[in-house]
Each structure stands twice: as C-alpha cells, then as structure tokens.
Symmetry: C2
Subunit: 356 residues, 2 copies
C-alpha cells in the first residue's frame, strides 16, 4: 500500500516514528488490545508507561500522570475542577486564546494578557493580581510557531511562587528540553512530539494540584480532576482509554534517548532550518524576534497567492506542508520539526524549496 | 509474539476481529495516521465511515453521527447540553445507575426507577410525569447480563411520544438487531460489539435532538453537544480523535454483513450457550427471567468460592472469563458473546466447562 505523502510536515497529527507500525503489530499479536482497562495487566502497563515517561522527561518527585482523551479536554478539566474563581492567561496566538475562552466560559472572571508574536515575556515586570489562582501559558503556540522558552518559564516560577502555573505543551512536550518543576501542571498530546497516532492526551500534575482539587472538591463530571486522579492512583483511567496508544507510548519510550538529548538535536535542526529559510525573501517567520522561534513548529508568512502556490506545489512533490491557522490561515505555512521526522525527510523538504 | 490468552470473554475491551491487525498495518503504511484531523482526507474518511455505519445499522433518515471519546462522556454530554431540568432513568444494574448518578450530579431533579433483574418492563404501565424531558434506558446492562428487548424499546417509543428517549447501547450496538427509530439518541463504544481497539465512542442522534440542543443553547464545554454536532456536520470532530479507530471501523464495516444478519447469528449462538449452561447446577444466569437474557453479555452467579475457583481454572486453561461487576463483583462471571469472537473460541469455552 502506497503512502499518501513522501513527507508530512503538518504540525499534528503528524509523522509517526517508523517503529510504531511494528509495535502496533506486536500489541495486536499479543492480544493486549483485547484486555480490560481495569485488569491487572493494564494496570502494570499504566505503571510502567508512567515510569518510563517520567524518566524520559526527567520529572522530579511529587508529580503524577493521568491519561486523558485530548489537550482540549485538559482546558476543561483545569477550569472545571482546579480554578475556584480566576485564572490569568497569557497568549499570543489562537490556541492560547481558545484556552482563555474555554476557561472564561466556565469561570467568567478569567483574565487575559494577550501579547504580540514578537514579545519576549518578562515575568518580573508583569502586573498579575495575586488573587489569580492560576497562570496559564501556552509554551509552544502551534498556530504561529512561537515558544516561551524554558528559562522564561523558570522566571515565571520564581516571580509567581504563590500561584499555580499550568502549561499547554501540546506541541512541544517530548521534543524539547523543559523543566517540569517550572510548573504545577502540564498537558500534551501524543500525536505531536511523541510521534504516535492521535487519540491520547497526557496530564502531568504536582502534589499541590491534588491538594487544591481536594479543597475545591469538584466531583460532578465524567472528567472531574478528582475522578481522573483517583483512577490514576490505581494505574487506571477514568474512561475506557486508547489502550493501543498507551502501549505504543510505552514501546517508543523504550527506544528513545532522554528528552534532553533528543531536544538538543531537535533544537539544532530547527536552527539550521531557520538559517536555511533566511535565504527566501518571499516569506519570513511570523515572529520577527528570533528568541521567540519555536523549535518544534516553524511558521512562515508571505503573500496569500504565493503561499497558496507553495502549498499546491509541495503536494505535487509529495510533500505536505502545514496550512496556516486562525489569523494566519491564508498567509502562512507551517513545518513540524518533530523528533519523529527523519533527517532524510527534512532533506526532501530542503530539496523541494531549493527547486521552487 | 505469543498471545496472552487463547480466548478472551471479557465484555470489553474484548476480542478484536481477526482482520483488525491487518487493517491497522494498512493504515500505518498509507500514512493515514499522520493526517491532520481537519484535512479533507480525514473529512472523507469521516463521511464514508458514517455512511457505512448507517447502512450497517439500518439507520433511517434524519439521524446523525458524532465520534466521541467514550460512552461515559455521552452520559455527560446528554446531561450537560440536552436536558433542561429533568431526565427519568430506568435501570436494573450498575451502568444504568451510574448514568442516573452522572445526570443527577449535573441536573439534580433527575428521577430514577430502579427495577429488578427479573422484571420485564411494560412501558404502558409506567407512571412517568410528562415534565421529564428524557427517558434514559440502558439497553444492555453489561454488569448483570440483562437486556431490554427491541420490542420493549418500540413500546417505549409508542407510549412516550412526547419525550426524548436516550439509549445506552454500549455493549450491544453492532451485535444485535435494534431499530434506531425507537429512540432519539443512542451511544455505544467500538471496543464491544464492533470488535475494535478501545478509545472511541459513537453518538447517534436525531434532528429533533439538534433542535432541542439549540433551544437550550448550552455551549460552554469542550464537549458541549452543539460543538460536537457543529463539527460532525463538517465531517470533523470536536477534539483530536482516535483516527486509527475511525479508520478501522471503516474497514471492518466493509466486510461485515448487515447487523440484522449478524445479530440473528449472534442471538442463535447466545441461545445455544444459555441452553448449554442450563446443565450446570453450580451457577445460573443472574436474571431468572429468560426474556431478560442478554444476547451479547452472559452473566452467571454462584457461590463465591466456586466462582473464584472457576476464574482461576479458566486462566490456567488460557481462557479469560469476565469478572463480576458492582453488586455481583465476587459471585458472578460474565461471558462476552460479541460477534468478533469466532465459534472456535466458543468451542474452547465449552470444552473448558465440559472438563471443569
């Protein structure tokens, strides 16, 4: 069966690791996918996957993992179960803004601080009222290819020691170096930097978050945090999960190097790509501040007719570029630089641009 | 790689169709799992899958399909977005009761009518106040192996023409004959009668449900019905779904006969099994009313020590029986009679019992 594209740079669902198909075949052959998600074998898989993930991500003591269905679900879980009154959202793109809107729907006092794609956040200069319980940040904004660097997250942690910090790392976790201790809660999806099929979200949270949830005591929903956590404690899930994806995560973590090593390589490759694309006057990164460049999602903007032609031409050459998103829908293209994309496919990309 | 069990009768996640592993391999090879869930290829897959599913299930005009993450999520979607004040729940087991409790959490005026496992419901005799907007029924109660027959659902439809009827068919849809026109809304999971990996729920609803949702106008949640529906209209999903499972559903529907034929075969096999198990005095169906026997989940009760020995012995022979659930946790076992389980494995089961 022929593949639809030679190379796929859509920022998610995106390129799977080459090994995934074989791992899936193992899972089917072993009968693992017929197993009940309350069984002891599933619990063992859950436990081992958590262990491997935390070791891969260098997660310090005092953090927990729960499997959820998607990152958007995490927006809801946080607003529903973990915010009493007010959260404070900093964003410069569509996904950050959507998170704010979701929060505001459920907790109308939510506050927002939009910033430009060129702005480097300086936490110590931000005026955030202390009665905002949570500071919500999108570490990697998939819609415009900007990121809030790990050092900046560290500065947030230092500047707002009394607040909870939640980080949307949907399109970066597993692909770049991040200090989990810089926030109380993180969430991500496996179909981005983990190079796995879509349909599974990861929610990582600290002991302090559990305490906060217990104080609030919200327990009314199928995905109420206390239910989610109570199940995770027993190495189970609050719903019937995508067991195949959990198994694939376990298997891929067995062969991946530590995220620090992986992230360093990915960073270097991103730098080369940004450098290469400097040669083009027809388009430039959406952000003009190179300190804001994302390592995992590169987004470039140009004239609409040019962008349209580029997309069409790429498809003719078997290359799928990511379309623009939100405000940048028609005048940008995006390139996923996820670890699962092999260098040979990056070469295909460069070849295509060389000739374009 | 050796399978964990020769035969697995856990009522879900349970036995996959034999063809599923091959279909998954095709999906990986084709690069389908790397596709964006907003892309036109995904939309086409969504459209074709809906078409095939509706043809398989003989769904009449005026119904719609949305993919969700699980059946428990449907309990929430209904209570959150489709009930203004009050729903009326009829149940005789744990899953029906949980649905009631979930609804009551969100809409405290919810009412319940528990009935015994031996009761055959007579809708025309039920006293349900007309201000109950929804009647909620668990068609197949996975916890105790009872079912509400399609004819009874038809009688409900006739007796309560002004109410909405919602049916939890988690462990029966796709495995027995059911008239979709008997209710306004149905939900199910693919890891039961569809013989697919876990991680995908199906929500089927009528035009009238959309109108009701629009009147209520609830739009605050990541899984608010209006968002779910608005995406489905465009052959998309409200969240990043388990694309592999959608693809596998499409592929399996290509080779399955119509559900009427499949359900008839499954019914006949269930009858044979009930007959066979009549030979045992150590256990009997949880329901003593053979009109309540489920076609897809058989549940038997006996002395605790006997049941425990039975489970252990079965495992030694490579056979996984379903454990008891809820009230029947320690004194029952369950046998999934899902269409994906081949007759050869039913023979293994009978062989095991013959010798036990």
């Amino acid at each position: 069966m022929e593949a639809l594209f030679k190379a796929n740079f859509y920022p998610g669902p995106s390129r799977l690791y080459d090994e995934v198909a074989g791992f899936a075949a193992d899972g089917f052959a072993k009968g693992l996918l017929s197993l009940n998600h309350r069984s002891s074998i599933f619990q063992e898989l859950h436990r081992l996957t958590t262990e491997k993930l935390f070791s891969f991500l260098n997660v310090p003591e005092g953090y927990h993992l729960a499997f959820v269905s998607s990152a958007t679900e995490c927006w809801e879980i946080i607003a529903q179960s973990l915010i009493e009154k007010r959260s404070f959202h900093l964003y410069n793109g569509d996904f950050g803004q959507k998170w704010f809107q979701f929060s505001q729907n459920l907790k109308p006092e939510a506050e927002a601080h939009p910033f430009s794609v060129d702005t480097l956040l300086k936490p110590e200069l931000l005026d955030i009222a202390l009665d905002n319980e949570w500071i919500c940040l999108t570490q990697n904004e998939t819609s415009n290819g900007t990121q809030v660097h790990d050092e900046v997250l560290g500065a947030f942690r230092k500047a707002f020691i009394d607040q909870f910090i939640a980080i949307d790392a949907t399109s970066s976790l597993g692909g770049i170096q991040l200090h989990i201790a810089h926030a109380d809660l993180w969430f991500a999806s496996v179909q981005k930097c983990f190079g796995l099929p879509s349909g599974l979200g990861l929610l990582i949270y600290s002991d302090a978050v559990i305490q906060k949830a217990e104080e609030i005591g919200e327990n009314k929903h199928y995905n109420s945090f206390l239910r989610v956590h109570e199940n995770a404690v027993h190495n189970q899930t609050h719903y019937t999960p995508n067991i195949l994806d959990i198994y694939l995560l376990y298997r891929i973590l067995e062969i991946l190097p530590n995220v620090d090593e992986l992230g360093q390589k990915n960073h270097t490759r991103a730098q080369h790509l940004y450098q290469y694309f400097q040669g083009y006057s027809e388009f430039q990164p959406i952000t003009q501040n190179n300190y804001c460049y994302s390592d995992t999602v590169l987004a470039f903007t140009g004239e609409e007719f040019f962008i349209e032609e580029l997309h069409q031409n790429a498809i003719k050459h078997g290359i799928l570029l990511g379309k623009g998103y939100g405000n940048w829908k028609n005048n940008s293209f995006r390139i996923a630089n996820f670890p699962a994309i092999p260098n040979t496919e990056i070469d295909e990309l460069v070849n295509f641009f060389d000739k374009f």
